[in-house]
Symmetry: C2
Subunit: 168 residues, 2 copies
DNA sequence: GAATCTAAGTTAGAGCTCTAATGCTCGTCA
DNA sequence: TGACGAGCATTAGAGCTCTAACTTAGATTC
């Protein structure tokens, strides 16, 4: 380790020793939120890295994935599936549309609704990206037993319930 | 439920039935990544909501928290603690500095390093925000037994290891 | 039939995030 | 001593994300 890094590291440890007593009301390592955030950061970073060669971002892949399973869905419904707000989805879809990976056509009955669909190019990109993303998911799944996977999914589900209940 | 929503919902189900066969190589519900992402989205949304009255974003709170535990730390080291890149931390710190919640002073020995510290105002905002954030963490912790908390943290830790190993 | 309500789509603005690239300081090593 | 390498800080540019606000279309209700 180099001296520059050592010095900031040394300062850090010294200050930590001095002030560690009771700066915050809960140690970071005991916060479940920290673990969830770290896991998501690692997931995001890895997915972004493997999706890069496919030419799509994580958000774009998420949209393409749900779009491939729900052709003609509205942008608002797609936003709900992806867990983002309509303006966010609008941003993502505009980028996909600029690259001609999707098309948006007026709904036959409801003038206020746009049907969103993959183009042929979009389907091709989606297939490539999906293969790459699934490779990561399979590696992740292979790390655990069936019981562990179920436990993790269950615990995370309870987190979501609690957090949504707790939201003002 | 209204007709507008019903129609998109109906279309969705119809299309799903038609195409469900084998559009993707792995069902979304079986992807551990989906569960992690959902949990982080719920966490983020709830934390943003409870931090809003304190006048800070989640990213700003994260920086203030680690800053309060490590006075004088460099921006790069702070970025590592928060799990973001230096340019990202620079953006967050600029916003905090504009509001006079932090100050950055040249390092005594190393001309190339800036020491970052909370101002008095920053400490006050941090104390307020921390109380609000910890309330959420306590509620989250109270949802689980000691064994469940340990299991969740352990499983998420293994996810992080696998994902970093898998990253090209 | 008109007021009201709900949902879809959009725009504006603020903030976070990344990669890529640059300039700087310092330490190491030949 | 001088070249190299590593780390810090910063800028530029693209993209994602949110809230707030507006517009429009369709449905409900009186």
């Amino acid at each position: 380790m180099l001296v520059n890094a050592l010095i900031t590291q040394r300062d850090l440890i010294a200050e930590r020793g001095r002030y560690h007593a009771q700066m915050t009301s809960m140690p970071v390592s005991e916060r479940l939120g920290s673990h969830i955030k770290r896991a998501e950061q690692a997931l995001s970073a890895t997915k972004a890295a493997v999706l890069r060669p496919a030419g799509v971002t994580v958000a774009q892949y998420s949209a393409l994935l749900h779009l491939s399973e729900n052709p003609g869905i509205s942008a608002a419904a797609l936003a709900r599936l992806c867990g983002v707000t309509p303006p966010t989805m609008n941003t993502v879809l505009n980028n996909l549309q600029d690259r001609a990976l999707i098309e948006r056509t007026p709904h036959e009955w409801h003038r206020n609704v746009l049907e969103t669909r993959l183009t042929d190019a979009g389907r091709a990109v989606m297939a490539d990206a999906d293969a790459r993303a699934v490779r990561v998911e399979r590696a992740l799944a292979a790390e655990f037993t069936d019981e562990e996977r179920a436990a993790l999914a269950g615990l995370l589900g309870r987190c979501v319930e609690l957090l949504e209940r707790e939201r003002p």
